[in-house]
């Protein structure tokens, strides 16, 4: 009568397409699991090989290492693309297909949106999280302790600095600092010009100097990063509190919340003010360290420092 029963049936009966959703979801989860296993397999095999390659690569620019690294990243990205393409073809398209048929007012529409949320979370949160993790682990294989390389350059310099002699009169010429490029040096005895050519290793000093300075000041950079991230964290904490006020009637509780919120806002403003100061402290220390390593580049570096301060 009046079609009430019919409506009731529609509400309680699980629609046919739900089985398809269920199956797709299962398949999607298994598919991602397999891809994650592949990522892990690739990365765990690649990381030790990459580390070894970096150590053994005699080339100053480590080109072989970088080529292999690019290849590993290519494979990792290939896995990620496979997930993305499959998500579009199998999950998104199924969702949009059904969404066009099922009204948002239908009591079963929830099944559809739950399907999408579950598949999306599994993909965007879990799978992508694992991708980021492996990707950063692979990136880390590039890190090398530059102190060791620097020490080698210093040792070499100690070794050669008194062994250079004038090509004209044979007099001893002391090399008083690490030259980065070929340089004319006058003989203190006969005054003739000699060309001093630094070794390939010594030339590399200008390529590693900044990295070494950064390595030595990394604690200052991290302090800046921590302070810089506070702004968003405090903002979200404050936002959470403001939501908790909505259904609160008790004026004492409301007052407490307000006090906490005000404090968070003060902290947030402090973070906004402090972060640039910490950045400047880091930058100055890093350049000081850099100038110590390559004093010849100081004039140039100071100009770069000024530019960086201005355009940060």
């Amino acid at each position: 009568m009046f079609g009430f029963n019919k409506q009731k049936n529609e509400e309680t009966e699980i629609p046919e397409w739900n089985a398809e959703l269920h199956e797709s979801k299962e398949r999607w989860f298994t598919f991602l699991e397999k891809l994650e296993a592949k990522m892990e397999e690739l990365a765990t095999a690649a990381i030790p090989e990459l580390k070894q390659l970096l150590q053994e690569d005699e080339d100053l620019y480590k080109r072989t290492f970088h080529r292999v690294l690019a290849g590993i990243n290519g494979q990792l990205n290939n896995i990620r693309e496979k997930a993305r393409d499959t998500y579009e073809q199998k999950i998104d398209s199924l969702y949009y297909d059904l969404n066009a048929q099922v009204s948002v007012l239908s009591p079963h529409h929830d099944l559809l949106s739950d399907f999408r949320t579950a598949c999306s979370d599994r993909y965007h949160k879990d799978f992508e999280g694992k991708f980021d993790y492996w990707s950063s682990q692979i990136e880390k294989t590039q890190e090398r302790d530059l102190e060791i390389e620097y020490q080698k350059i210093l040792n070499e310099f100690e070794n050669i600095k008194d062994k250079f002699s004038c090509k004209q009169c044979g007099g001893n010429i002391t090399i008083d600092k690490i030259f980065l490029i070929e340089t004319y040096i006058p003989c203190p005895y006969c005054k003739s010009q000699n060309t001093f050519a630094p070794s390939t290793q010594a030339r590399m000093l200008q390529n590693i100097a900044r990295g070494l300075a950064e390595q030595r000041t990394v604690h200052l950079y991290e302090a800046f990063e921590t302070e810089n991230n506070k702004e968003r964290e405090l903002y979200h904490q404050r936002h959470e509190l403001s939501l908790s006020k909505i259904h609160e009637k008790d004026s004492k509780v409301l007052n407490d919340i307000k006090t906490k919120m005000d404090q968070l806002e003060t902290d947030r403003q402090n973070a906004i003010e402090n972060a640039p100061k910490l950045y400047q402290a880091y930058l100055r220390a890093m350049y000081d360290e850099w100038n110590k390593i390559t004093p010849d580049l100081k004039e140039h570096n100071e100009k770069m420092y000024q530019n960086q301060l201005q355009y940060k």
Binding site: A46, E49, V68, N77, I181, N307
Partner: protein
Amino acid sequence: MFKKLFGSLTGNDTQENQIEAQAQASNDHYENDYVNEYQETEYDPETLHGTHYDVEDFDNEVETRAEAWIQDERDSGQNLQDSDIKSIYTNYRRQVYQEWNNCDSDQMIRFENANSLKYSGVQTSGFVKVDDNNPFLEPVHGISLRDYTAMCLKISAGVDYNEVCRAMGIESVIWEELNTIWPQRMGEDTSFTVTTLFGQYYAENVTLPQLENVKAEISEDGQANLEKIRTDRYFYEELAGARQAAYEYGIDGAQWILDNYGINLADFQSVAMQWMTEQNQNWNSEEIMEFSNYQQEKQKEYAAKFAAEQGGNVADDVEF
């Protein structure tokens, strides 16, 4: 597993790392034949301002609108930073330009490229404006930026630097100084005049009478392919896509281009710069998109080819 994946790791990699892809950007090759739906406006060829108004009036109008907005923001308690003020000006400049010239956004971008130095203090390739007294452009040991670029072109094409120095009549000590000072100036110059001009000379493949006889070896096929990437944009995009795909499969892409098409890195980068400069000058978003899609398509094709050579990708056997 990497032996199978990447084949031989110990190839000759002289081509790599000499110059990083300065200009991967896609661009287009057409002589101002884009369709402009708003043809009625006549533009000054230098500034790309409409000829029906004075530039001064334009700048004043932008300033009036921008300052009014800035005042409003400040009155409502907003704390504006320099970067905010800059973008307020940029937005009004775009708005006034489009209103006064009744033009599309491509024309507006061409205008911004032509005026980048004036309005944002930064040079754009294809529109470099040089002040005679720019200290960054003072010759070093008598070698101008143009001369230096000509030398770099020879060296990155594979000619030994000693040979280039001999032809120029300078000692290698001087070359090393040049090769330190010019790159330092590029770093220090916040208007990017030195860098952009270097890129432009590079794209023009500049040369000097002294260097005429110093030539990198290039095969007949290589010469023909080089000519083709200079004139056939699609062919250039195909090779750019292939090169990119090669790197993703652990292959030295620049070396791959040399081995298979006989084009060295210097020539390839020079052509890349040439297309980028033209793209800046004749900004057309539709064509940019078309070439970019074409390159991606080709990249995929070559990726499939490289994957097949290496016995497939690691996740090929995973099915939905």
